[in-house]
């Protein structure tokens, strides 16, 4: 968006130069435009970093729910020991989520897959489905899933804006000189295949 103002500003400077305005004024104007271009890239990068922090916070929030989820279900699904072990092991994936965007996306997809299986398994245990603590946790999980989805979309929008500013003229020239690098977007292909429709499953269980 800043490119429009910078290009407009450059045209104004050109027009002023044609009208014989003092070169010192033109130099000051040029420096202001450069500063605006540089600041717009820094601002876009900061937005992307802030959005990434949002994803990390949501991933942590979801990981924090896992011990409570295990506590709530293990009494009912003792026979599903493999699944419980997988759920418990997800705590280890939290470290992976901190390593980078690709690693976080992989850990995110794995967590979502396992939690989706857990929710599907709970369908077979009416007592568990009726348990108030499990229902509360399921609501909390739904909320975190939606917030995480929003954080992913916000991150990808911020990264796209930042990367665009690195590719566009004239901000791209300044970015190359200043050594700014593109950021990867948050790709989670497995997520779409295995995304649990918790809403549909939960529709039968109304709040008291």
């Amino acid at each position: 968006m800043h490119s429009v103002w910078i290009i407009g500003g450059a045209f104004v400077l050109f027009a002023l130069w044609m009208h014989g305005v003092d070169w010192r004024w033109l130099a000051a104007g040029g420096a202001a435009l450069l500063a605006l271009a540089f600041n717009s890239i820094v601002s876009a990068r900061n937005q992307a970093e802030k959005a990434w922090a949002g994803i990390e916070a949501m991933l942590t929030k979801r990981f924090d729910l896992i011990p409570n989820l295990v506590d709530a279900v293990q009494r009912y699904v003792e026979h599903e020991s493999d699944l419980l072990r997988e759920v418990t092991a997800l705590r280890g994936a939290e470290r992976g989520a901190r390593a980078g965007v690709a690693e976080a996306a992989a850990a995110d997809a794995q967590t979502e897959r396992v939690l989706s299986r857990l929710v599907a398994t709970a369908e077979a245990y009416p007592e568990l489905k009726a348990s108030e603590s499990f229902r509360e946790l399921q609501r909390a999980l739904n909320e975190v899933e939606e917030q995480l989805s929003a954080a992913r979309r916000a991150y990808n929008a911020a990264v796209q804006h930042y990367n665009d500013s690195l590719r566009m003229v004239p901000t791209g020239w300044i970015a190359r000189l200043a050594g700014f690098e593109e950021r990867p977007s948050y790709e989670a292909p497995a997520l779409h295949e295995a995304r649990p429709d918790v809403g549909e499953r939960f529709r039968g269980a109304r709040r008291p």
């Binding site: 800043h2 949002g54 909390a140 909320e143 929008a157 529709r203």
Partner: protein, 314 residues
């Protein structure tokens, strides 16, 4: 919501007496002492003093009297007939024909950044569908300028529903006029910092972006509120609307302003407009507005959020 067969049976059996009482109101009221005195004085003055001013006064009096009678009949139709029908059609619904959604809620919605200084409306409805409370009314907002010039800011349906997710910020979806008129420059203008503490949020759907400009106090929360499915639902609603749709998410409520070129629930005066078909048409109109709750997926209560108290009508 009742079925059509139930509604027809209700109109034929339970509502028949009220409809008959309403039809009684439509008959001409007998001339009173004032009418008789007016007529005598007019005829006497026309013949004796050759003055016609009194005749004009008498004609004015008759027009006013007729208008008052028409208003009384129209008001009685909504009060005595429609309110009973709506209570049956949607049990628990609170219908107040003369009220409208209060100005404080219109202001809180932030849907009309352009100034307005007079609000009016009718057909206030409050009810609950599933676990979602909703309130709506017909609303008319007018800006009174210099020399008593009036500009119509909005006329249509103003709908409020308790949103199914918790949120703290404010998100507005307004018609994207600047980008449509000025293109990229308009987009750049929209991205400039605003005084209300909101920032431009660009959503992924290009069709949605063409139609709406989204501003929010928190871009992540805006995307939490505007899930991809809700974006699609709002888009479908906007495509059907006769004018530019405005939506906002404030104080855990969803506000929606849908322009209408006609009355939401027309009041009947002629006998034909109170026929069984016309009455069922009004119920269908009510159901279509209440249906927004399902259409926008607001009854999907899978998140941990409690109900909200109802706003007071004006």
């Amino acid at each position: 919501m009742r079925s059509e067969a139930e509604l027809r049976a209700f109109v034929r059996e339970d509502l028949a007496a009220h409809l008959e009482a309403w039809r009684g109101l439509r008959r001409f009221s007998p001339p009173g002492i004032l009418d008789a005195l007016g007529l005598v004085a007019t005829v006497a003055s026309c013949f004796a003093a050759q003055r016609v001013e009194l005749a004009w006064l008498f004609a004015g009096w008759l027009v006013l009297r007729t208008l008052r009678d028409v208003m009384r009949v129209r008001s009685a139709f909504k009060q005595e007939v429609l309110s009973r029908l709506f209570e049956f059609a949607l049990p628990g619904v609170d219908y107040r024909p003369g009220s409208h959604v209060g100005a404080e809620h219109v202001e809180a919605s932030g849907l009309f950044p352009e100034s307005w200084n007079r609000d009016s409306g009718e057909d206030y409805v409050h009810g609950r569908l599933g676990e979602t409370d909703f309130w709506f009314s017909e609303l008319r907002l007018v800006r009174e300028g210099r020399k008593d010039r009036e500009t119509l800011v909005f006329r249509g349906l103003f709908f409020i529903a308790d949103f199914h997710k918790s949120f703290r910020g404010r998100t507005y979806l307004l018609p994207d006029v600047a980008e449509r008129v000025l293109g990229v420059l308009g987009r750049s203008l929209q991205a400039l910092p605003r005084f209300d503490g909101t920032d431009l949020v660009e959503l992924e759907d290009p069709d949605f972006e063409k139609r709406f400009v989204c501003h929010s106090t928190d871009p992540v929360e805006a995307r939490y509120v505007l899930s991809t499915s809700l974006v699609q639902r709002i888009l479908r609603l906007a495509e059907r609307a006769s004018g530019p749709l405005r939506v906002s998410f404030v104080d855990e409520c969803m506000y929606l302003a849908l322009p209408l070129s006609r009355d939401l629930l027309p009041a009947a005066f002629l006998a034909g407009s109170a026929s069984e078909e016309a009455l069922l048409g009004s119920v269908r109109e009510l159901f279509s507005v209440v249906g927004l709750v399902e259409e926008l997926g607001l009854n999907t209560r899978i998140w941990s959020k409690g109900p909200k108290p109802a706003p007071t009508p004006a």
